[in-house]
């Protein structure tokens, strides 16, 4: 037994890591690093200096999706099968192989199909953004109609029995809020991660969507909807006590839900923009939300009373709507020229045109048609119904356009996006100023400037950056640097960084033949 034990220990000792490891080296690849191909390659070939076996092979598409791919080793050559239909843009192949004596070696191969990926500085309207915008529109519509119904019942119609169809519309909208809210969260998650619709079966888009501001909006919308549904309950034709307060609370929550997400809420200064959006939401919930019920009330005897009460409440709210809307437009645009030049500005202009048309119709109703109805003019009620009907159509169109803002970044945001990420690393011996542009997901350029620890000029012999993701099993991305005439160091090729978040950045600065100083810092990349 002791002899067996000692032999086992010997074996164990032999298996302990050797002082140095063998590693294969990549000699050649097809496609070559940073090459731009016309079409997707049938096979990616990696040639090493010694026989290898594949361990992990991951393909990262320009959209940032990661898939495991298969590779076949033939002595020193590794043949990797690309995924079907890889798409145009810059792809990354994260490869890890094992050398003939067991030590793994890895690397990252970047190449482009068709064209190199341009970083999305400005237009996020990809295929995944549309479903999110549509889901948001559906949620807004359901919320506005449900809460509008409750508000109309208690503040315009004074709690009295409402015209046929009112309860149905309000309750249907109220129940539609929950599925619409879930759809909004899920589609936002899909958009954030760039996933296809099939990913809805996984938890990834849901988790991502729940972290987005739209989740708070959805939560508030669900609460508002619940209160609105409760506020609509009648017993024997009379509203239950406390339901008026519930309707009021639903109204306020609905207004708040607008202020928790969207471009406008985060325009600087936030102290002004967030309340402005809430005020805007408060006003529009009344105006657009009550119109359908007003139309339905036209059939009843209390039509005139409803009209008058509606107009009375609507007047100050319309003023609030216009004031908050113009204020937000000013905050978002920065300058009138910027507004007209951008996609955002064009959507806003279209929205303003529709709102102006709605206003015109509203004024027409108030000052021409309502007195006509009071005076029992023939055809006045038909004209009024048509006018209100047209206003409703315009109102829905305005809500749709407001949801479309999601697809266009405001000029203010474009200005922010154009600024690169600046970093400074300071150690005793060495200092580096680093500029990463654009500092977002996609192709990034690096520019560095070095100084000694006490601000004296310094030129390293060589420098290289290695970027690593600790949360993903992919190989490091290397960025080779080259000196320019003005003393700055630039990346020889753009580095494709497929995911937002924290990247561990290590700059190896060769200060003389025998010394290398590593500078490390975490780079946070915007989506």
């Amino acid at each position: 037994m002791p002899r067996l034990l000692s032999s086992m220990l010997l074996l164990l000792a032999a298996l302990l890591p050797l002082d140095a490891f063998a590693h294969a080296q990549l000699r050649q690849s097809q496609p070559a690093a940073n090459a731009v191909l016309e079409a997707a390659p049938e096979m990616v070939v990696l040639r090493f200096n010694e026989p290898i076996a594949p361990l992990v092979l991951r393909w990262i598409t320009p959209a940032g999706t990661e898939t495991e791919v298969q590779g076949q080793a033939q002595d020193e050559t590794l043949l990797v099968t690309p995924p079907a239909d890889p798409g145009r843009g810059t792809h990354l192949l994260s490869w890890r192989v094992v050398s003939s004596d067991g030590h793994p070696v890895g690397g990252m191969l970047a190449f482009s199909i068709g064209h190199a990926s341009a970083t999305d500085v400005g237009n996020p309207a990809e295929a995944t953004a549309w479903p999110a915008a549509i889901a948001r529109f559906t949620l807004t519509l359901a919320l506005v109609l449900a809460v509008g119904g409750a508000i109309f019942r208690h503040f315009v119609a004074d709690g009295a029995a409402s015209a046929p169809g009112t309860s149905f519309l309000a309750q249907f909208s109220g129940f539609a809020i929950l599925p619409a809210a879930l759809a909004a969260i899920a589609t936002q998650g899909l958009d954030m991660q760039g996933l296809p619709a099939s990913a809805l079966l996984t938890s990834a888009p849901w988790r991502a969507g729940l972290e987005a501001p739209v989740a708070v909006t959805a939560m508030l919308a669900i609460l508002a909807g619940l209160l609105a549904l409760l506020a609509l309950r009648v017993v024997d034709g009379k509203a239950l006590p406390g339901t008026k307060a519930m309707a009021g609370a639903a109204w306020l929550l609905a207004a708040a839900s607008f202020a928790t997400s969207g471009h406008a809420t985060v325009a600087e200064p936030r102290m002004l923009s967030t309340p402005a959006v809430a005020a805007h939401g408060f006003a529009l919930v009344f105006w657009i939300g009550c119109l359908p019920y007003l139309l339905l009330a036209m059939r009843g005897e209390r039509a005139l009373i409803a009209l008058v009460r509606f107009s009375r409440i609507a007047l100050p709210l319309v003023v609030l709507l216009l004031a908050s809307g113009l204020g937000l437009a000013a905050l978002q645009a920065g300058s009138p020229e910027a507004l007209l030049a951008s996609d955002y500005g064009r959507v806003l202009a279209a929205k303003l045109v529709l709102v102006a048309a709605m206003l015109a119709l509203a004024l027409f109703n108030r000052f021409r048609l309502t007195p006509a109805l009071a005076g029992k003019d023939a055809g006045a009620d038909v004209a009024l119904k048509r006018s209100i009907g047209a206003e409703i159509v315009l109102g829905i169109a305005v809500l749709a356009l407001a949801s479309a803002f999601r697809l266009t970044p405001p000029p203010r945001a474009l200005a922010d996006q154009a600024e690169p990420v600046l970093m400074h690393i300071h150690t005793d011996r060495l200092m580096a100023d680093i500029e990463i542009s654009p500092g977002r997901v996609g192709a990034n350029g690096f520019s560095l400037f070095f100084q000694t620890g006490d601000f004296q000029p310094f030129t390293p012999q060589a420098a290289e950056i290695t970027l690593q993701r600790t949360d993903r099993e992919i190989e490091n991305i290397r960025v080779k640097l080259q000196p320019a005439e003005d003393g700055t160091w630039h990346a020889t090729a753009l580095a494709q960084l497929p995911w937002p978040g924290a990247w561990s950045m290590r700059i190896a600065v060769l200060i003389n033949d025998f010394e290398v100083v590593p500078l490390t810092e975490t780079l946070f990349l915007e989506p």
């Binding site: 010997l10 140095a20 010394e515």
Partner: protein, 177 residues
């Protein structure tokens, strides 16, 4: 049964330890003793990405004095003398400068392996039970292979890509002469 098993284990362990192809530049000696003269053999397993090695340069770190490199047939040998940071006592004499860099110039094709030897005195300035790292640079026609990364305290040398070869320093056993 036990004998067979033991024999199998022994054979297996022999096979495993007999693996060659250590692809980092390392020293054949695992440890040296303070206050003694050591022979250090640098093993160069490959060139720079397939290119032949034309120069092997070793920088002598602080704490190793009285360095004498071994000449190689077919290679030119040069040394660079410089001041030591500390002052040392060697056989009663005070030593403040000596060989700080060794340069062998020649040609070692990538397919071949070679060893480069030098001798030096390990002083007790180098702490016992710590590793002393000796940076090595291989120069080739179009680049260099630099074994110069020194792990920080707590960092494992195995995590580095191009670590400087290291040797463990052992405490002086008995007084040296």
């Amino acid at each position: 049964m036990k004998t067979i098993l033991a024999a199998t284990f022994a054979a297996a362990s022999l096979l495993l330890t007999a693996q060659g192809a250590q692809a980092h530049a390392t020293f054949a000696e695992a440890e040296v003793t303070q206050n003694s003269t050591a022979r250090l053999t640098l093993r160069v397993p490959h060139g720079c990405e397939g290119q032949a090695t034309l120069k092997v340069r070793i920088r002598i770190p602080e704490g190793i004095i009285a360095v004498k490199p071994m000449p190689k047939a077919g290679w030119t040998l040069e040394t660079v003398t410089g001041a030591y940071a500390n002052s040392y006592e060697l056989y009663g004499a005070k030593v403040t400068e000596g060989v700080k860099e060794i340069i062998w110039t020649g040609n070692l094709p990538d397919a071949f392996y070679d060893e480069f030897v030098f001798r030096g005195r390990i002083t007790d300035t180098l702490a016992a039970d710590k590793t002393v790292f000796i940076p090595v640079v291989q120069d080739c026609a179009n680049g260099a292979e630099r074994w110069i990364e020194i792990p920080k305290d707590g960092q494992d040398a195995h995590d580095l890509e191009s670590p400087a070869p290291g040797i463990t320093v052992k405490k002086a056993g008995h007084s040296a002469h």
